[in-house]
Every structure is written in C-alpha cells, then in structure tokens.
Point group: C2
Chain length 454, copies 2
C-alpha cells in the first residue's frame, strides 16, 4: 500500500481563534511613534484603518475569537492540506523528514486571503464601502480583490507598481475578474501621482509611491480605508490559523517539528506558521524557527532593530523593526513579495527575544530548489516560497552530513503559476543574484539617522 503523503482536516477542525504572540512576549513591544518619538494612539490611525482592526492591532489578549462568518469564508479553501515531501526527501537522500503546509490552494493562490478576508469583513462591519491598497508582484492585490468580492459591498482599488503592471498584465485581469480595480502607479488619480508623473513621465514606480497613492485616496473619503497585506500586528494575528492547523495535522500524523521554516518579506506567512510554534518553544519544546530571506534584501540577517517608516515617503508612523532603511530600493528580484525594506514588528521582536533565527539565500539557489521541488513534489512554487524551499533543502542536507534524523516543517506559501517569468530567466541562464555591497547598505541605513530609537 502506497504511503500516506498528506493530512487533511475537515471544516469542523478549523481553529476558532487566532493566536496572539503579543500576549506571550517576555518584554512588551515598543509602540508605533511619530518622528519626535511620541507614541501614536489608536485614534491617530482612525483615518486609515477601521477601529475594530485598530483594536486588534493593539490587542494583547492571547486568543482572539474568529467570527463565525469569517470561518464561513475560510471554508472556501481551509483547512489547507499538510504534506509529507516523501519524493523530495528521497531525491535528497536525507534522513530528515520534510513536511509542508500547502497555502497555495486558496483561490488567489497564496496565504494572503487569510488576512484579506478578515480585513474586508471588519471594514464592512465598520461601514466602510471602499478599500485602497498597493501591490507589487500582485499577490496581495489579487487576494484583497477576491476578499472584497466574496464579502460583498466593498469596492477594492489597487495601486500596482507600474513596472509590475506592465510586466504582469494577467494580474490585473485576475483582480478585474473579482471586480477589483487595478491602476498602474504612479497614476493621475492622486496628487502625489500627478506630481511624480510631471517630473518623470516614464517612472517605473515603486512600492513606496503606490502606498502613498493608496493612503492619499483613502484619507480623502469618509467611507474609505486603507488595507495592508503584511507587517502589521493584526495581519500576523490572522495568519496564525496556518500554524494552528499545522499543529493539529502534525499531531494526527504523530510527528513534531524540530525545525520550522518560512520565507520572510514583510513577515506574514512566516509569522502565520511560526508563531504557534514559538508558543510551543516558550513552553519548553526544542524547536529551531528559521526565517528565510533573499540575500538581496537581508532585513533580518543584516539590518539593525530601529524605529523606521513603513514607506519611502514616510507617511506611516514609525514602527519598531529590523529595517534596511526606508530609502532602500531592493534589486529587481523575481520574488517581489520579499522586496521590502522592513520586517513586521512582531517578527522583529521575536527575533530580539531569541525565538527565531534568519538565513539569507541567493536567488539562483532558490530557483534551483523550486525546480527540484516541482519535479519531485509536483507543485510549482511562487518565487517567494522558493526561499523557504531552499532553506529547507539546506537543513535536509545538513541532516545528511550530520547523519541525524530531524523533522522539518515548511510553509509552502503559494503557487507560482502567475509568476513564471523568473523560471524562464533561470532556464535561460540569465538570472542574477545581486549581492549587496556594504556601502549600499550603509547608505540606506543612514536614512534612519536622527529617527528616535526604540
């Protein structure tokens, strides 16, 4: 009889609460502050986010109930299956056991709907009629368009970095199919957009510009709010459903991870799998938890913990986080979702408290890993996800060298069917790795000089 490779849960097994790691930190997190270092209260965020989500942002309860209606939407693709990567193990000849959580089964193809659905739902509860957001590679814009269509009664407006908009025309159509509106950024719709276009009509745009446009359009209308797909505390909270499901599934298959791995850009999919395991670690389990990031955007491995702005234009409050500096423009990696200068404050705090470690991997090694994964496990990975696979393969090879059994659990955060361009570069042999010169890192870090310290 062929061996079991996946563990499925029924809808009844869905976790009924999100897990809030903030309740269990040894030291409290530093609050967001203004440029003078004064803590920013919930009311200052009110023009940008609805109050029910701001309450989650500052919440320190350990468990937060998931509203039943949100569970109803989660059932469209959750619980997601947990896989044992038996064919990859065999190809590697490793004594390690490798498991992965398949978050690619969502309609949008990644873990992003785990927070897009609650964000759309809480905004609707609060009476909001329209959400604005930005997207780089397109995963987040797709997920929020999907969520707004399903929840209903909320318009979704996505500012997509122009160069991505032009390179990935199908992302726009995907958003349109769910009723989302997607405009290339900078656009003529906002003051900041018009200003930038007047100066440079051919600008490729940037995530920083797109955020500025989305926030500008949001604060101008009473019934409009802004939505962010990563970085913030409530986003991390929503994603913890991943790790909680994984805990049940690992229990069902009678195993326990020694190593937990996720890729990290803003930090949300990593946090989603890792935080429930950090809780186990706090209760004495020996687990190594590894965030895998691009060598070309080494936030956790190279950047200091500082107060920094979430965007280039400094429109957001200052957040306590590992940051390369808000002026850092990452090289044109295919993993657009990992091209962010900062790291979620909760992930940064977990790093400071010694619960996680980080590794940085060059792009080519990631694609090599993704191709091996596709040819053994079958699934084609998102460029972001390939960083988790590469880190997993490194750990598995280490197990071989050490001749030690170990159990690795990885978050397979999404499929790459909308992002095959990177695979083409890889096969054509024209993929670059973009190692970063020290002076570049020093220069962008200098943009934080003079900002308050946490």
């Amino acid at each position: 009889m062929s061996e079991q490779i996946k563990v499925v849960l029924t809808e009844d097994d869905l976790p009924k609460q999100w897990y809030n790691l903030a309740a269990d930190f040894a030291t409290p997190m530093a609050p967001p502050v203004d440029p003078e270092g004064n803590p920013i209260g919930p009311e200052a965020l009110a023009p940008v986010f609805p109050m029910n989500l701001i309450e989650q942002e500052v919440c320190t309860d350990r468990w937060v109930d998931i509203p039943d209606e949100i569970l109803g939407y989660y059932k469209i693709w959750r619980p997601t299956p947990l896989y044992r990567a038996r064919r990859l193990e065999k190809a590697l000849g490793t004594p390690a056991k490798i498991y992965y959580k398949n978050e690619g089964v969502s309609p949008a193809g990644s873990h992003k709907p785990n927070t897009a659905i609650p964000q759309a739902w809480y905004n609707k509860q609060f009476g909001i009629k329209k959400l604005t957001t930005e997207t780089g590679a397109g995963q987040w814009g797709s997920a929020l368009s999907f969520a707004c269509a399903l929840v209903g009664g909320i318009e979704c407006k996505v500012f997509m970095v122009r160069i991505s908009f032009d390179q990935k025309p199908f992302r726009k159509i995907m958003m349109n199919t769910w009723g989302g509106i997607c405009v290339p950024s900078p656009s003529m719709e906002t003051e900041v957009g018009r200003k930038i276009l007047a100066e440079d009509p051919d600008t490729p745009g940037s995530l920083g510009i797109a955020i500025s446009e989305a926030i500008e359009q949001c604060v101008q209308a009473e019934d409009t709010r802004y939505s962010l797909g990563s970085v913030l505390n409530h986003v991390m909270l929503h994603q913890t459903i991943i790790g909680q499901e994984a805990q049940k599934q690992m229990q069902m298959i009678g195993d326990n991870p020694d190593v937990v791995i996720g890729c990290a850009g803003g930090g949300s999919n990593f946090a989603g799998l890792a935080f429930p395991y950090i809780n186990e670690r706090m209760h004495g389990k020996e687990i190594r938890i590894i965030a895998s990031e691009p060598e070309a955007c080494p936030t956790l491995t190279q950047a200091k913990f500082r107060y920094d702005s979430g965007d280039i234009a400094m429109m957001t409050p200052l957040l306590p986080m590992h940051s390369l500096g808000h002026t850092f423009v990452p090289p044109p990696l295919h993993a657009g979702g990992l091209r962010y200068h900062g790291m979620a404050p909760m992930v940064s705090h977990a790093m400071n408290e010694g619960h996680i470690e980080a590794t940085a991997i060059p792009q080519t090694e990631c694609y090599e890993a993704a191709v091996q994964f596709a040819r053994t496990e079958g699934f084609i990975s998102a460029p972001e996800t390939s960083h988790a696979i590469a880190a997993t393969i490194r750990e598995a090879k280490r197990a071989t060298e050490e001749g030690k059994e170990k159990t690795i659990l990885m978050n397979w955060s999404g499929h790459g069917l909308m992002d095959l361009k990177g695979y083409e570069s890889y096969f054509n042999g024209n993929m670059e790795d973009y190692p970063l010169p020290d002076e570049l890192l020093e220069k962008s870090a200098a943009s934080m000089d003079g900002l308050p310290m946490p």
Copy 2:
C-alpha cells in the same frame, strides 16, 4: 455556526479501481476501422501506444484495478474536494442545490493528470523512454510534462500549436519547469512540419498538424510512444476516478444528484464525472446527464454519428463518433480544449444509447457565468469549465421558474489562471460568439463522404 460547504476525503478513501462503462453498454461499441472499413486490431496500434494501454483500450471488464504506485501519485492532489456552491445558489435565488467537484487542485490545474499519470506510468512499465504529444491551449501538454517528471525516466515532448505557443508563452515555461520540452508546431523537426513550413512559413499551425508531427516522431523510434489526453477509451477509464469520488462525497453529505453536468470537448472530464452516474442510471436512478459544449463547436448537438478520423491528416484509425468532419476548423474560441471536431467514441455511444443529453452554449454566456462564479464561489475557472458553469446556471434558473427543488452536480474541471486572456476580451467587450452557418457545417461534414459507416 457557518454551514458546511465542502466534503473532503482522506487518501484511504481513494477509489481502488477505475470503472469501465464499456462493460455495461446495451450494445457493443463499433471497433476502430481502416478507411476500407476493416477492424483494426491491437497489433496495428503497437507502434503508437504501449501494449498495456492498448489492452485497456479494448478492455470490457467492468472494473480495472488501479496499480498501487499510481494511487501513490494520485495522492499528490486526490481525492479532490466536493463543494456545495451555497453562495452561487444564493446569488441565483434558486431552489436548486448546486455541487461541484474541484479538479483544479492538481499541480497542473485540471483533471488532465488523472490520465497523464497512468499513461506515463504504463509507458514506463513497458520500457518506453519518451512520449510525444500535441497540445492546443496547453492543459494537456502541462499535465503530461508533470506526469513524466513525477513518474521519472520518461522524456516528454510536446508539439504546441504555434499560435497558442506565441500567445501563451507561460505554458511553455510551465512545461519546462517539469522538464518537458515544448516546440511550436509546425516545426523543422519532422517531415510533415518542414513540408508545411516550406509552403507557408507563417502558418499559425493547427491541432491536426501537431498530432501529425507527434505521431511521426513517435513511430520513428523504438523507445518512443504517443500519448493522447482525451477521446480514447483508456483515457475515459482513467477519468472515472472523479465520478467515483463524487459518489462517496454526495453520500457523505446525504444528497443525490438529479442532474450531472460536465463540459465536453474530446469528452474526458465529462466522462470522468458522468460514467459512474450513467451506471446508477442503468440501475434505475433518475438522473439527467448533460454534456455542455461550445455553440461554435457543436459536436454532440449538431454532428452525426459516423466513422471519422481523429486528425485532419487522417493518420489515426477511423473511430465511431459524433464528428463535425475531420476538416472542421473551429473558430478561435478561448476554450481551446473544446475545439475538437469529434467526440470520444464512449461518450458518443452513451449518447446513442440515450444516457446523456447535450447542450451548446455561446462563449459570452459562458464567461458571464464564470465571472459570476468567481465573485460568489471564489475560484477563477478555465474557459472550458465555464461551459459547465453556464449549463449549471441554466438548470438552476429553470428550477427557479418551475419552482422545483433539484440537486445539480457539476464537474469544475480546472482553474483559469493560465488562461486569463479570455476574461480580458470579455471585460473589454470584444468577445465574439461565432455562430456557425449551416453551409460551413455541411462542408466539413462532406469530408466524411465515402468513409465507412458504423
């Protein structure tokens, strides 16, 4: 508590046998013949297919054991979930209950791997080192590339219709990622390809040309065979795993379909869901079984049952089937997988015996249905699948008019993330419906004059 919307099975619930409808027909099917009407024996097919698959092609046993190794590969994505389309029902305001089987969860994104995996496996068992095939839209070429990578030790060579190759560059990269080789057809690699290119260097190619190239390259090498993704009896057999799982799932949820619906091009996904239910029908259950096809390629609704060739160049044996004529070139529908002049002999025979009915739907109505489906159920459908959705919505609306409850079960054969171009045409308002003039149908039907009759 939010309502149940999906039924999942565990790997232990996987059906262990394929169901062969050929065992249960009231009258035996007519055999394949040569142009003089002489039956073609298994040995004549030996240069093109391995003998173990030829045996399945002519098999009349009711149940065929699924080898355990194939079950092992099926576990990568099977059993697939069955969904209750509660949100679509609500949007339609219908008393009908709508269920759909989600075959889009396979790594290749459609039901095609259900037969690609066994075809690769049986060829490998037979000592074959290379498979050639053709692909139009790319679903089949992707599925066979995936299957050859997983089964291992078999090279996969895909001749892709040139116009699709140029329009959908990502399909090639998808195949490459699994190690498949994809060349535009006509190519310089075959005699027929070189001849056609010499006459018309700018030809867009056709499925007929691609089949001819794939077969030419196959018969020239001892260790190479040809693989077909639909039409043939053994393909229908492999797909019956869909309907068998659905039967279990419908039982678990305590319901029974009154209507079963699938889209039909060559017939394989339709057969996969329908054949186990035709068996129930033969045992007295009242079930309507509906094949939904494009109005622009109306094989079951408008074509006669005849002997006809499977390809334009008449390289295949003559098959007993509903056929528009092997010279019929369907209009440039987005549903490339439904652009086939013939219909699987088993599906044609089931039609002749009165077990199924057919409906033809214009392209625009299908996209309208697919968009409604995406915005209620969340998943973006393949253009082919949209024909099943449109037929389902018609039935649901009929239930509303008649004020009658009924249970509809539909095969959601695949996602459309690789085929978003059609949605763009739909949103831009430049989608055509291509109604077919009678004289065109008469002309292509005339290409069968003089061929033997079943």
